[in-house]
């Protein structure tokens, strides 16, 4: 990436330069923009305008056209029709570089960082400060310290990005956006992987930027966040503009209705009729890399146990250790009351345990293989006769699961890559159903999928549990856990700090536990000063 070399110190001092004062004229004006791909009208004459100092939320289900709009604005795609005005001038970037130079900055959900390099190097690599042709590390360091202060990232500037958590990486990405004179900051699903506290911190940063006159386009599935941070909200559906409203004048339920085009109850499915069965999983004193106290927990048949906690509190690690994906150094795991030895995922699968991983693309699916092949990989013996794979039986078995889970796939032969996020997730569920797993470990099962698909997943979990399986669900979406779980186990800083039965469910109760181990007196005060007020009450 090459950009004009700027005077390094001036950048460090001024960082994001204030743009024109808010005079009611949009800083970015998208007028009836269309974009067609072979066979799909991804954007159909959509309009949206962003005022200086405004946080404009853009919502819509997957495939609504949000990402395409972002790509048009960032110069990845050229629009087929309509026009875009930036500061009143026609704006038609030929490539992402041009968009950057013009002041449009995008922070994508999938982060674009140089993972092996240090934070400070990432912050400066677009326009490295130089002295006599060499990198001026002193200026680079100053710049990094300044930018990291702006976004509240508290790690040594020479930390390699690969050693950061996802939330921290995101802060680096945003800090980098501050380096250039951004006029418009586009955040594509920035909170998808953040915990409430991190989200609050992010919102503080967004507010600060908006107050300087930057226009923010905020894309999110989290409608409560839209309510919290947005000034206006625009809804897209199937590539079309549906509505733009002041956030103050619209409820979440109304937004959802606009988004899905059909009314949907806000309530999460909870089936009282399902009665808890025998204990099927018992974990005692499990010790593994990343936990500070041994982990013990139990799961019954026909039960959904939620696992809450901040990102990095050890929830994922616990599931991975139970599943044998990472080796546990001590502890006893019992399935149906019998001790089982789990040294590897294959031991776990043999014991009827499955793990639906946090990242379905890199860990759950073989994207360039078919739905059927992804489904049967867990138990190929079942479709093998005389040592040969029976592709017809395979297709039939996959079709059965496709129907059962209502997976939207053309056929069992369709490649997993071409399914939507929600349907990919269902394929991962399908493969575990094919393996006849009874103990379901779900890590962020609804992350990054649209609202409609989320509810399908909830009902799916209930269908499975109703048939005597047990599920442990890790999620950063707290309302979701409160909605569907019988019990919630709360992790804080690598240890289980408490367990809440459904009668005691409240966001406050869970959050208080989740923060428990992080709030030792010494750091609590400093932390509170840093983060914005208004922790969910």
């Amino acid at each position: 990436m090459t950009g004009p070399t700027r005077d390094a110190t001036s950048i460090a001092e001024t960082s994001a330069v204030a743009v024109a004062p808010p005079d009611g004229r949009p800083i970015l004006d998208v007028r009836e923009v269309s974009k067609e791909f072979p066979g799909v009208l991804a954007l159909d004459k959509v309009s949206i305008d962003i005022l200086p100092g405004e946080v404009h939320a853009l919502v819509g289900e997957n495939g609504a056209g949000k990402s395409t709009l972002v790509k048009v604005l960032s110069g990845v795609h050229a629009p087929d029709g309509g026009e875009v005005l930036l500061d009143g001038e026609p704006y038609q970037p030929q490539d992402p570089d041009e968009a950057l130079t013009a002041g449009i900055r995008v922070v994508y959900q999938e982060l674009n960082l140089l993972t092996f390099l240090a934070v400070e190097e990432n912050l400066s690599f677009e326009s490295l400060p130089s002295r006599h042709g060499l990198v001026d590390r002193k200026v680079m360091r100053e710049r990094a310290v300044h930018l990291m202060g702006e976004v509240g990232l508290d790690v040594p500037p020479d930390t390699a990005v690969e050693n950061l958590g996802i939330a921290q990486m995101q802060m680096v990405e945003i800090a980098r956006a501050l380096l250039t004179d951004a006029k418009v900051l586009i955040l594509d699903e920035p909170t998808a992987t953040l915990t409430p506290r991190e989200t609050d911190q992010l919102f503080g940063i967004i507010r600060k930027l908006a107050d300087r006159g930057i226009g923010v386009l905020f894309i999110s599935h989290h409608l409560d966040e839209v309510k919290e941070i947005g000034d206006r909200v625009t809804v897209f559906r199937n590539g079309e503009w549906v509505a733009t409203r002041d956030v103050a004048d619209i409820t979440v339920a109304e937004i959802i209705e606009l988004m899905v085009g059909r009314s949907m109850t806000e309530g999460y499915p909870f089936r009282d009729s399902v009665k808890r069965g025998e204990e099927i999983l018992s974990v005692e004193g499990l010790i593994y890399q990343g936990n500070v106290e041994p982990v013990s927990l139990k799961l019954h048949a026909a039960e959904i146990v939620g696992v809450a906690g901040l990102v990095g509190s050890g929830r994922t690690e616990a599931l991975r250790a139970i599943f044998g994906a990472d080796k546990a150094s001590a502890g006893v795991i019992k399935v149906d009351g019998e001790v089982v030895r789990i040294d590897s995922p294959s031991d776990a699968v043999g014991a009827g345990i499955c793990l639906l991983t946090e990242d379905r693309k890199s860990q759950g699916l073989m994207l360039d293989m078919s739905v059927a092949q992804n489904t049967t990989i867990t138990r190929l013996e079942a479709i093998t006769r005389h040592g040969l794979l029976q592709t017809r039986e395979e297709a039939a078995a996959a079709q059965e699961l496709i129907d059962m889970l209502s997976i939207k796939a053309q056929s069992p032969e369709q490649l997993a890559r071409y399914l939507s996020g929600g349907n990919q997730q269902k394929v991962v569920v399908a493969k575990w159903l094919f393996a006849q797993s009874r103990i379901l470990l779900f890590d962020e099962p609804t992350r990054g999928i649209d609202v409609g698909a989320k509810f399908e997943i909830y009902n799916l979990i209930w269908d499975l549990v109703e048939r005597g399986k047990g599920a442990i669900v890790v999620s950063s979406d707290l309302p979701e856990l409160l909605g569907i779980c019988h019990r919630i186990i709360v992790f804080s800083k690598g240890a289980i700090v408490g367990e809440l039965p459904r009668e005691q469910f409240s966001e406050k109760a869970v959050l208080e536990l989740a923060y428990k181990n992080y709030l030792d007196p010494a750091t609590a005060a400093a932390r509170d000063r840093q983060s914005t007020p208004g922790e969910n009450a």
Binding site: P38, S344, G387, L389
Partner: protein
Amino acid sequence: MSAAPTPSTPRGEGQMSLANRAIAFSLREAGVGLALVVLVILFMVIAPYFATGDNFTRMFGQVAINTVLAVGMTFVILVGGIDLSVGSVMALATVVGATIMVPSFLTRWVPFELDPLVSIPLAVIIVLLVGALAGFINGFVSERWKVPSFIVTLGMMSMARGGSQVVSDNSTINGLPRSLIDFGNILIDLGVVRIPVYFLIAIATVAVAWFVLRFTIFGRFIYAIGNNEEAVRLSGHNPVPYKISAFAICGLLAGLAGLVWLLRLNVGSPIAAVGYELTAIAAVIIGGTSFTGGKGSVIGTFFGVCLLQVLSTGLILSGVTDNFRVIVTGLVVILAAVFDTYRTRIITGLRAR
């Protein structure tokens, strides 16, 4: 500028019309076959000697060796690895096999001679074992200590070559049993063209490999591991044995290629097959197998081998000097790799976006 992040999948994802499917197929599998036919016709027109039966017989002979090597290479590349040692392992195979079958060389190592009735089958078995062992070591070391296969097999390339020099004492081993030589000289007359008998070994190798990759659990895992090794592991299967097996198969087929060499050229030689690993890799890539693993087929590989052979022979018979032939061959490999990235993009483009 790094590539844009993966697009969120649009509506109507994966909708492909029949015409688009046909295009996708021709780009992926049939493309090489088509290019091959075009080249053959081209050389038939411009190079007078090209279209003769003798020339085709010679090409079939050379294709046989390269095919056996390249099929093994396909297994390794499908699981995301690479094997640079196949040429050297093949040379080792030729001298080991020849040593067992030629009494004057065998007596350098053991105090007895073997009757051809014993020595030929024994040579076959030992040569295949030696190849498989070399491949196993490649796979085991790279998996056990997480060393990139590029490095391990680079080392094996040197070791096997050195081994072949030790075994042969740096000399060419002549004097194979008459029966073996006679067998290798058999030509099967198909009327239009006569094909060497050992070409059938190559065809059988392709057929068996195709069948294994397509219809067995083992084959399924080879593709799955190349596609997403971690997903396979987290599906409850240990990928390591499968990956090591892919390397062992590659080694085994390098041994088999050594046997085909003995049938064809009747000498064991420590300088046999220098650079053959590159031809094999090139053929695999031209044949449409993805360098990152998970996608491809041995049929494509076979076409790739044929294409390289036709190109090579055709250029020489057209009067191009050997030096230029080598340059053009290299160019084709690079073009194939470049084309591969476009191919993926075009196919993706045909599906809705």
